[in-house]
Symmetry: C2
Subunit: 318 residues, 2 copies
């Protein structure tokens, strides 16, 4: 079903790119590296795939700030209060995941089960909870820093699952995936320097992994008509650089597998964070898309890990 040669997103005749993506997906599923589910863009992971993820993470961590950063790990859901402050619902409503649950009585539950037995949806018996799925690994972190930062700001190491509702055949577009981020919150210069440094360092990491990456000025996929202007502004101001790898040759512009972004004072404003000198804090982050890097490795070096270049395996500790 998810391997049908159909472009589920548009229902149009599949393009060469669609076919290439479907073929890569089929290869990964046939090899048992990813495990198919009933949902487009949602996969189980094999032990082998997890070994690759862990190997990538060793390379990322080795190039990272080590004990200079505060390690923070968040579960895959976070408070709506924080989600609201990210302004994500304004910019990316279509990617959002809100959590609903059942708060009703025995009688309500009986009705739910009766509807269910009749093949009807039972969602109308559910109500919103106080949580959302994590939209970007760093989003749950900012609320901890409301108030005044220490002198020199903070440097964070954050690793966790993110959710984006964008069903797709392309295995590189998953609905749930891991992102390892290094984030700085501080003054404007520190945020700009962090972003710049991590473009270079990110390229170094991908080089160690034997990946042929290209830095590209990019924009976030802001929603709708108003979003087009936000995207253009982001590009004009050169705030986001993606490191891209061509998974499908010349059929597209490449897949972003690392992203280094300057948020300017966006989170500083919305989370009321100030520097030790009383200015609104700036922030920036580099995010390593762990599943996408793994897929780039499989696409570049092949599905047989034993045949990968020795240097790459050595860096990864595989």
């Amino acid at each position: 079903m998810t391997t049908d040669f159909v472009n589920a997103e548009t229902d149009s005749t599949p393009s060469e790119l669609d076919l290439a993506r479907a073929e890569f997906q089929r290869e990964l599923l046939s090899a048992g590296i990813l495990i198919e589910t009933d949902v487009l863009g949602l996969y189980g992971r094999s032990g082998l795939f997890e070994d690759i993820i862990d190997g990538i993470d060793r390379v990322v961590v080795a190039a990272g700030p080590g004990s200079a950063a505060t390690r923070l790990r968040f579960p895959p859901v976070f408070p709506r209060t924080s989600f609201e402050r990210t302004d994500y619902i304004a910019s990316f409503p279509n990617l959002t995941g809100a959590i609903n649950t059942f708060n009703g009585s025995n009688r309500d539950h009986s009705q739910l089960l009766a509807d269910r037995a009749n093949g009807e949806s039972w969602d109308r018996y559910l109500e919103p909870t106080e949580t959302m799925l994590v939209s970007a690994a760093c989003h749950p972190a900012y609320a901890q820093y409301t108030g005044e930062l220490p002198e020199g700001g903070v440097l964070l190491d954050i690793y966790g699952f993110c959710f984006r509702h964008e069903p797709a055949i392309d295995p590189a577009r998953m609905q749930a995936f891991r992102m390892h981020e290094f984030v700085t919150i501080g003054d404007a210069d520190a945020a700009a320097a962090h972003r710049k440094k991590w473009i270079e360092r990110g390229m170094g990491i991908l080089g160690d992994l034997g990946l042929d990456a290209t830095p590209v000025i990019a924009n976030d996929p802001f929603f709708g008509r108003a979003g087009r202007m936000l995207a253009a502004n982001q590009r004009d101001e050169n705030l986001k650089t993606e490191l891209t790898v061509r998974l499908y040759g010349d059929l597209d512009e490449g897949t972003a597998i690392v992203s280094s972004n300057n948020h300017l004072d966006h989170f500083g404003k919305t989370f009321d964070i100030t520097t030790a000198h009383g200015e609104v804090a700036h922030s920036s982050c580099v995010g390593f898309g762990m599943e996408r890097i793994a897929l780039s490795l499989l696409r570049t070096h092949g599905l047989d890990i034993a045949a990968w270049p020795g240097g790459v395996r050595g860096h990864m500790g595989l």
Copy 2:
């Protein structure tokens, strides 16, 4: 807020147990081991806490089936089609997490943002997606085995985040937590033997961690009036054993940190899994509640890991 000495669940005067739970929560937050959020039962994790989790996992894995098991890892959301087949909405509707997202137009989004600007809820603009939060680590796995099992059945090693909507001050009752499970799907004897073996082996693991655990015949928290009978049946048939540790002395009966359960043919039936001999498959699992084991270690050996017994640290590789 989450540290108020108030029983948020009942709004009644706090009991001694409530006070003990709130005090433990306060200690963990003050020490920076867990990180407070706006949501009861939802925490960020420090690097130190993650080191403890990883150490526990090394002990669990060392006692586990190793390469005899198929390693499977699932993201924190899974298909509704699988969720439906677990029958979870019938038994535990109140713990459920359904994912909603925005599928609307530019105009719908403008209205959403206008409502939001007026301080109104925007949930009515969202619609159910095809995914649910993972209710138990093993639930996403069964769909892979619909059909006939290989001779001897399958043995699975599954580790991932679970979600249960049960806001609580007790740090041992988290809304999002990790469970490492070893699952067997096969004939009735294999399922019963797996469950029995893992009660003993689980006790051994907890002994290595220096925890004073007790095996207790238990039941799942089935919802509502009808649930009471299901719970009584489960106890009468001796299908679920929890390994419990007393985090709060004699103030309660202890906290379940490991659970070994025989599902009989429940998942075999609902997921249409048969043995190589054509019988409906049975399944059983042992689940290690990683956060709860970590909290038991902190409660038993203290918040200063450097002062933990050398043997425990040795087992954990800390």
